[in-house]
């Protein structure tokens, strides 16, 4: 096709196309030679791109790791990964909104893969008193043999011990202090049972815990589930929530939708820890903003870099044009060079992230002890394990590829109107 006379203007465009196709593999080779020719500049530019990629993927990996750690930790204190409840219990936690047949439900859920342990709870707000003092508190009837296995609350700075049999109570240290109660004292609990009856329970305080979260330490009393069922006149297979502990947060996300059914609402960790979800979203937005700003600054430096490249190589471009290369070929070649530098940066950035996250996800990062109080209040575990964030990867890589392409194109467009003679003359 290229032997068609190029004097006919309408045919020019058609004539060029196969020309580009033929030339493209060579353009890649030349582009590679060009970027290796100025090693220092290539590496500095690639390092900038790598930093932007690293910033995004590594920081997100740390954040995702920290959040999954905090969600898991929080779940294992008291909330569980999944809770099964009466459909309206979450909005109206009244004593009547209970679920029946908990033993069958527990047996069914426990048999599923990815489930670690399942236990039931009944709960109600009541007045707790000791001697002359009274305070309001959330009374939770627990299957204590099971809670002792999974709930880390039972091991948090405990004075005394956890519940081991009927007639015992395990309470928050702030509540104990407010009630003026010490271990071995009797706690009187008065609440409202089903259908307005009086629920009365006397229990021996066998232990207190300090979680560092004021709302847990100030207002929670745990008693055995059977004691609760008798006092609040619930049936022996009746409770308010079935708590599911999954093997991991990821497992729980798969499990949660499978467990709900008519008359049984399944709440996953997002429902149970909404403030954690919002914190996560806020952090995500914050990191995106920071990444975009870092990307803009890096892209400026890529524009700069290509301005220097074009300035330096103008005589060379003139020569190429003199022997028949068209301006758009040169632009394409520069775009390929930009792509290669970008790929180099991406490999470097992702490589460092992969190695860093790979090592740290095995060893974990010890969180600073000085921040103990702060981290405890956010339910952070003592060690943090980063989790590679593919979400960050899918954002960072396209942004940087498009950004560098644009960055190379801006100074490159000047070449459209360049004439071989002027370009060659600029060498003098």
């Amino acid at each position: 096709m290229s032997d068609i006379s190029l004097t006919d203007g309408t045919l020019t465009a058609v004539a060029i196309r196969p020309d580009i196709k033929r030339a493209t593999p060579e353009l890649w080779g030349v582009a590679w030679r060009n970027i290796t020719r100025t090693k220092r500049r290539t590496w500095l530019t690639a390092c900038g791109i790598a930093f932007a990629i690293l910033m995004m993927t590594f920081v997100r990996s740390l954040q995702v790791g920290a959040f999954i750690g905090a969600v898991d930790n929080s779940a294992r204190i008291m909330l569980g990964h999944i809770q099964l409840q009466h459909p309206v219990y979450e909005d109206d936690p009244a004593i009547e909104n209970s679920i029946h047949g908990i033993n069958d439900i527990i047996a069914d859920v426990e048999s599923r893969p990815g489930v670690e342990i399942v236990s039931a709870r009944a709960q109600s707000f009541a007045l707790t008193s000791s001697g002359e003092r009274s305070f309001g508190a959330q009374i939770i009837g627990v299957q204590y043999e099971k809670e002792a296995v999974w709930s880390s609350l039972t091991r948090m700075q405990v004075d005394g011990r956890y519940i081991e049999g009927p007639g015992e109570a395990f309470i928050g240290s702030a509540l104990a202090r407010n009630l003026g109660i010490t271990i071995g004292d009797e706690l009187v609990i008065l609440g409202t049972a089903v259908e307005g009856g009086v629920a009365a329970l006397v229990a021996d305080v066998v232990g207190t815990y300090t979680s560092g979260q004021p709302e847990l330490d100030r207002a929670i009393v745990q008693v055995p589930l059977q004691d609760f069922q008798v006092a609040w006149t619930l049936a022996p297979d009746e409770a308010h929530t079935v708590i599911v502990i999954a093997e991991s947060v990821a497992d729980s996300e798969e499990l949660a939708p499978q467990l709900g059914r008519a008359g049984l609402r399944s709440l996953n960790w997002r429902d149970l820890q909404p403030e954690m979800v919002q914190m996560m979203e806020m952090k995500l937005i914050g990191t995106y903003v920071l990444f975009i700003l870092v990307a803009i600054i890096v892209i400026f430096s890529v524009v700069n870099s290509f301005m220097m490249i074009i300035f330096e190589r103008t005589p060379e471009f003139g020569m190429l044009m003199a022997v028949g290369m068209r301006p758009h070929h040169i632009i394409i070649q520069l775009q390929i060079e930009a792509l290669l530098v970008c790929i180099l940066g991406i490999i470097l950035g992702l490589g460092i992230t992969a190695v860093g996250v790979g090592i740290l996800s095995e060893t974990g990062i010890a969180l600073p002890a000085q921040a103990g109080e702060l981290l405890k209040s956010m339910a952070m575990p003592e060690r943090m394990y980063p989790v590679f964030s593919f979400g960050a990867l899918f954002i960072a890589v396209p942004v940087m590829v498009l950004g560098t392409q644009l960055a190379a194109l801006i100074p490159g467009l000047r070449l459209r109107h360049m004439h071989a003679v002027d370009a060659l003359r600029s060498a003098e």
């Binding site: 220092r40 500049r41 500095l44 530019t45 390092c47 900038g48 930093f51 932007a52 910033m55 707000f125 009541a126 007045l127 001697g131 002359e132 003092r133 009274s134 305070f135 309001g136 508190a137 202090r177 407010n178 003026g180 100030r218 207002a219 909404p274 403030e275 954690m276 979800v277 919002q278 914190m279 979203e281 806020m282 920071l290 700003l293 870092v294 803009i296 600054i297 890096v298 400026f300 430096s301 890529v302 524009v303 700069n304 870099s305 301005m307 220097m308 300035f311 330096e312 921040a371 109080e373 702060l374 209040s377 956010m378």
Partner: protein
């Protein structure tokens, strides 16, 4: 070689490559602008948090009877004579407030909740959030007002409203429980729901009558400026020698930790943004050195000392940085003037409130931070010029001229 001559040379080199350096200047300006904007948000959050902590009944400094913090009961109250306000550091004080704060249980027809029952003198509460809250109904009138005001969140939980009666049970000074009915005068609405769930207010004299003790459990002082906190603490420790005197930082260690953490966040942002910038800066400087191999070789041949070569590159880098920083700061300042003074994040507010942070951020721009950014950027500029300068010194006059 005189420094003015070096500076002149550097400046000329910058002007020579206008387009390239303009690009670099823009990158620096964007970086500085970004750091400054992040700074106004972080500073805003930091100071809002302090303001909120201080106005949440803490004051800058608070006085309790010994043991009250562990056992907050009326038995840990103390007496105050009429005209008790200490006449110390008067010009530094915005106001004093004496209160009773004791745990209690509140009951509506439908629900029961644990609360902090607080007796106040409404005239003194200009120093706390109560003066800024929005009310449905009315606030309390006097210290002998026998009605109560409750938080909006509490009203929702108790399914009650203004004008209804609620029963409150609390412990009297003899250790026995007192139970009394109170009419709701008003429902207060504050930023965040944490306070609204906990505090119920009535007149301090009314509460004293209920518990049979003419005492208070706390005295708060709010200062005109945070800077007076140390000297005031010192004076109060002597004035209330028998009592426990604590700062808001001691009472709310979590908020204090966040306040300090914000300082490091400012540096963190600076380093991330500046690191992104430094690659481009080094790149441009090295190129500008390599382009001038001939020129630098010539200068060396006619007797320019290596130190002067280094100086020239450092000055060039510092110049570019200085102009970029000035541009960024000016732009940042202008944008700050155009922005609304309050950034509203209420769509994310639950996440904020979990950690006691307000949903609205009052943006703050500190001149000291602008100075800090300028100084740190200059240091970065000098650091970025070290490698290019080293490269420049390596140029041997003979080789350079032979090229």
């Amino acid at each position: 070689m005189p420094i003015t001559l070096l500076a002149q040379l550097s400046l000329r080199n910058i002007v020579r490559h206008r387009r390239r350096n303009l690009m670099l200047l823009m990158a620096i300006a964007v970086a500085v602008l970004t750091v400054l904007m992040a700074n106004t948000v972080i500073r805003g959050m930091q100071y809002d948090l302090r303001e909120q902590t201080v106005s949440n009944l803490n004051g800058h400094i608070k006085v309790h009877a010994p043991g009250y913090l562990d056992d907050p009961s009326i038995a840990r109250g103390f007496e105050l004579a009429a005209g008790w306000e200490p006449k110390i550091n008067v010009s530094e004080v915005e106001g004093w407030a004496a209160r009773i704060r004791i745990p209690a249980v509140i009951m509506s027809e439908r629900e029961t909740r644990g609360i902090q029952f607080v007796g106040i003198d409404p005239a003194q509460e200009s120093i706390s959030f109560l003066s800024k809250a929005h009310y449905d109904g009315q606030p309390l009138n006097t210290s002998s007002d026998r009605r109560i005001i409750i938080g909006k969140e509490m009203a929702d939980q108790l399914e009650t409203q203004v004008g209804r009666r609620l029963v409150i049970i609390t412990q009297g000074s003899d250790g026995l429980n007192r139970e009394a009915g109170f009419r709701i005068a008003g429902v207060y609405d504050t930023e965040g729901t944490a306070i609204e769930k906990i505090f119920v207010f009535t007149g301090v004299t009314a509460l004293q009558n209920m518990v049979d003790a003419i005492v208070v459990t706390e005295v708060s002082v709010r200062l005109v400026d945070d800077a007076f906190q140390l000297s005031m603490l010192d004076s109060l420790l002597r004035f209330f020698a028998d009592l426990e005197v604590k700062t808001w930082q001691q009472l709310e260690p979590l908020a204090a930790a966040f306040f300090l953490f914000a300082e490091s966040a400012i540096y963190l942002y600076f380093f991330i943004i500046m690191t992104a910038l430094i690659f481009g800066l080094v790149n441009t400087l090295v190129t500008s050195v390599m382009e001038r191999v001939h020129e630098l070789g010539m200068l060396r041949a006619v007797g320019m000392r290596p130190g002067a070569v280094v100086m020239q590159v450092v000055i060039e880098s510092t110049f570019i940085m200085m102009i970029g920083v000035a541009l960024g700061l000016t732009l940042g300042w202008l944008i700050f003037q155009l922005l609304p003074p309050v950034l509203d994040l209420s769509s994310f507010s639950e996440g904020f409130e979990k950690f006691g942070m307000p949903a609205k951020i009052h943006l703050r721009l500190h001149v000291s931070d602008m100075v800090l950014i300028t100084v740190m950027s200059m240091v970065f500029g000098v650091l970025a010029s070290l490698y290019p300068a080293k490269r420049a010194v390596k140029i041997s006059p003979l080789e350079a001229l032979r090229l």
